[in-house]
C-alpha cells in the first residue's frame, strides 16, 4: 500500500525549518520531546525518529548541497493505525538510487576497510513499511508510514 498524501489523519506535528544540519537537529529534538509526551509505543517512536533523522539528513545533503539553505516542511499525522510522515522541500531532485532498496555497505576485510557511510537508506528501508518519492512543481515530496504497533510485538 502506498501512503496517501492527504490531511485526513489527525496531525501530530507540523514544522518548517531551515535545510541545515543544525536546524534539522533542533527540529528532531523538538519532535522527540513532543512524541515522548504522547502515547506512542517507545520502540515505534524511536523508529520514527531514526527514520526521520535519516530522511532529513539526506534532504540536507542531496537536495541542498552546495546551495543556499532553503526550508524543509515536515508533517506527522496519525491515520488509522499508522504514523504517516511527509516531507516537502524545494531543493534539487533527490537521486533516484535513494529509492531502491538499500543494502548494507561492504564491511571489507580489516578495520581500515570499514565503511563510514552508506548506512542511511538501509536504515530507512529496514524500518518503514512504504516509501513514496515524488518530484512535482519543483518540490521533493517524500511520504512514508510506520505501523503504530509492530506485528508480532
Amino acid at each position: 500500500m502506498k501512503p496517501e498524501r492527504n490531511d485526513d489523519g489527525a496531525e501530530i506535528h507540523h514544522g518548517r525549518f531551515a535545510s541545515t544540519d543544525a536546524a534539522v537537529q533542533q527540529e528532531l529534538s523538538r519532535i522527540s520531546a513532543l512524541s515522548a509526551a504522547g502515547d506512542l509505543a517507545e520502540d515505534r517512536r524511536d523508529d520514527m525518529l531514526i527514520v526521520l533523522g535519516e530522511v532529513l539528513n539526506n534532504i540536507v545533503e542531496h537536495a541542498f548541497e552546495g546551495s543556499d539553505a532553503g526550508w524543509i516542511d515536515c508533517r506527522i499525522s496519525r491515520c488509522a493505525n499508522r504514523l504517516c510522515i511527509m516531507t516537502r522541500d524545494e531543493g534539487r531532485p533527490l537521486p533516484p538510487s535513494l529509492l531502491t532498496k538499500g543494502s548494507l555497505p561492504d564491511f571489507g576485510d580489516s578495520v581500515d576497510d570499514l565503511p563510514e557511510g552508506g548506512f542511511g537508506w538501509f536504515i530507512i528501508h529496514s524500518l518503514v513499511d512504504d516509501m513514496l518519492y515524488e518530484r512535482t512543481g519543483g518540490q521533493n515530496l517524500m511520504s512514508f508510514t510506520l505501523a503504530l504497533e509492530r506485528e508480532g510485538g
Binding site: V24, Q25, L28, S32, D43, G53, E54, E61, E116, G117
Partner: protein
C-alpha cells in the same frame, strides 16, 4: 559538542553530554575523539549514557574513531540506550565495536571512580 572525560586506571572514559550524536555534531565529535586518542595510549571507553539517538553520520564518526585507534585497540561503547543499540544492531556494527552491557570499570577501582562512572552513565 560537550564531552567530559575521566581517567580510571588505564581506562579513559569519554562521555558525550549530548542527546544526539548526529550529522550536526559528527565532525566536532571526531575531532575531539582524535585528540583523546593522541593523548591516551590505553583503552578508551565511550560512555553513551546521555546519547538517546545515533544517526548514520554519527555511526560513521564512530567507525572513523575506531580506525583512528589503529587496529590494535577497539573502540569500546558503554551504556548504549535502546535507540542507539537498535541502529548498531540493524547495521550489524554491533559486531565491530566492543559493547559493554555493564560498567566496564575494572574491579578494585577506587569507589570514588566507580561512583563517578555510574553517575556519568546512569541518567536518561
Amino acid at each position: 559538542m560537550q564531552m567530559t572525560s575521566d581517567i580510571q586506571g588505564d581506562l579513559l572514559v569519554v562521555t558525550p553530554q549530548e542527546e544526539r550524536l548526529d550529522a550536526a555534531g559528527a565532525l566536532a565529535f571526531k575531532e575531539q575523539m582524535h585528540s583523546h586518542i593522541n593523548a591516551h595510549a590505553d583503552r578508551i571507553v565511550l560512555d553513551l549514557g546521555h546519547v538517546l539517538f545515533l544517526d548514520s553520520s554519527g555511526l560513521g564518526a564512530l567507525v572513523a574513531v575506531m580506525k583512528a585507534l589503529g587496529g590494535t585497540r577497539k573502540l569500546e561503547l558503554a551504556s548504549c540506550q535502546p535507540a542507539v543499540l537498535k541502529v548498531l544492531k540493524l547495521t550489524r556494527m554491533d559486531s565491530v565495536f566492543t559493547i559493554h552491557a555493564t560498567d566496564p570499570t575494572p574491579p578494585g577501582m577506587a569507589a570514588a571512580g566507580q561512583a563517578a562512572f555510574l553517575a556519568a552513565s546512569g541518567s536518561k
